[in-house]
Assembly symmetry: C2
Homo-oligomer: 255 residues x 2
């Protein structure tokens, strides 16, 4: 019987993305890895689940030696399938990523990577999402891998506070240029959407969603500040969305 | 110049769902209504946005007199399109629903209805999601309409605390049997997933996601308690997901 931890690895960029390869390589140094990931890119899927059509799942090769499954669903579907149809129990750790691009600040809401980690946490698994601030397919994940090993080791050692997961964002810097790791809060920011309107060959309009990221938060305890200043940001994330501070105020309303 | 408020109505069950019709009828008593909603059901889409393909949007008839647009995207896409391509400014109120089925407790995370309202709040619009605890297409929305008018009137009058939206769930009862309205916190609960495994005509397996709702929370201040006891539940919801209470604990780690 192995005493190595079982580590579930998933992502939202799809099972063939370089980022998940890097995360698998990192996690293999810490435990027995099982990969269950989407068969195609699922960025910006948020916490979507697939209920109006059935899911497909196939065993597949992932960088040799590692048990891998590709799934037709969303990142959240992958975590559910992994627990219920593959492992038949909770793994010791669930890691998602390494995402190609930032999931800091308000991006946590839109991110499939972070939603997979959140689903892990809802199920009761210590869970972490990792993202590198580089969208390129040929991004250098070597510093990110070191960070992933360091953070995952701490989580395996200490556990996580109940109902809490970690959102880890890594600046696009080499190991020696990363200044350190900061525990942060989510910066107050938003995407100001802009639609690129075009006409199809039949003269009908269609719209590409684009946008500009606006950081409205001047705090130096935020993930945006940390990343802009060369630090890795770690935000503890919860899925109790209650605005507890607003309850007493609303109790004054005449309802 | 009309001083009536402009009210954006959206949902996740699609523009032809009876629930959005009920919400439009209710909101017409309070202001000028603009409907921008998905052209097909988008339940359980969470906070997904559409970035890998373009969006289509068509002007359409919604119960006469009301400006309506159907959109090929997710509920969150609809809010973004409404603000940026239709209204060209923020409406005075954004309401989403009335959802066919509960969005109480952890369902807030998976819900397209609530994600549309959350997107409204992120944009800075006072926003509310409404859900009726009845999945049937022929559900009776008459009590829910009264509740929607009451809650929306209060929001138009008082505004909402910054960065807060409302998650309103309505029990499947007649008006006279609803005991009242309670301001609540999100119950601690989860879905225990179960996959219904089948074989296709070629002998290949596929999986339907199903599950059982487990309420682990005995508190009498939760939305689940309120709904089970005949009350409408209102949970103030926030999109700062930082687990602030965990920051100091994580600062003790050796990172």
């Amino acid at each position: 019987m192995s005493k190595r931890p079982t580590i579930l690895v998933t992502n939202d960029d799809g099972i063939t993305a370089p980022g998940i390869r890097a995360l698998v390589e990192a996690m293999k140094t810490l435990g027995d890895v099982v990969v269950v990931a989407p068969d195609s890119p699922q960025s910006a899927m948020g916490h979507a689940i697939t209920i109006s059509k059935p899911l497909r799942m196939y065993k597949t090769e992932v960088h040799g030696e590692v048990l891998g499954y590709q799934c037709s669903g969303t990142p959240v579907d992958c975590v559910k399938l992994a627990v219920n149809k593959i492992l038949h129990r909770l793994p010791d750790l669930c890691v998602s990523g390494i995402n190609h691009g930032s999931n800091s600040s308000i991006n946590v809401i839109y991110s499939g990577t972070m939603s997979a980690a959140m689903e892990g946490a809802i199920e009761g698994i210590p869970s972490i999402g990792f993202s590198l601030l580089n969208y390129a397919q040929d991004a250098d994940f070597s510093a990110a891998k070191e960070i992933a090993i360091k953070v995952a080791s701490e989580v395996l050692k200490n556990g996580l506070p109940k109902d809490t997961l970690l959102n880890v964002n890594i600046p696009n810097l080499s190991s020696e240029n990363i200044k350190g790791i900061k525990i942060c809060r989510q910066a107050r920011a938003k995407w100001e959407e802009k639609f690129d309107e075009r006409k199809d060959p039949h003269g009908q309009p269609y719209y590409w969603l684009t946008g500009q990221f606006i950081n409205m938060d001047k705090g130096e305890d935020t993930d945006e500040w940390a990343l802009a200043n060369g630090y890795v940001s770690i935000v503890p994330v919860q899925f109790d969305l209650t605005a507890h501070h607003a309850v007493s105020l609303l109790n004054q309303w005449e309802l």
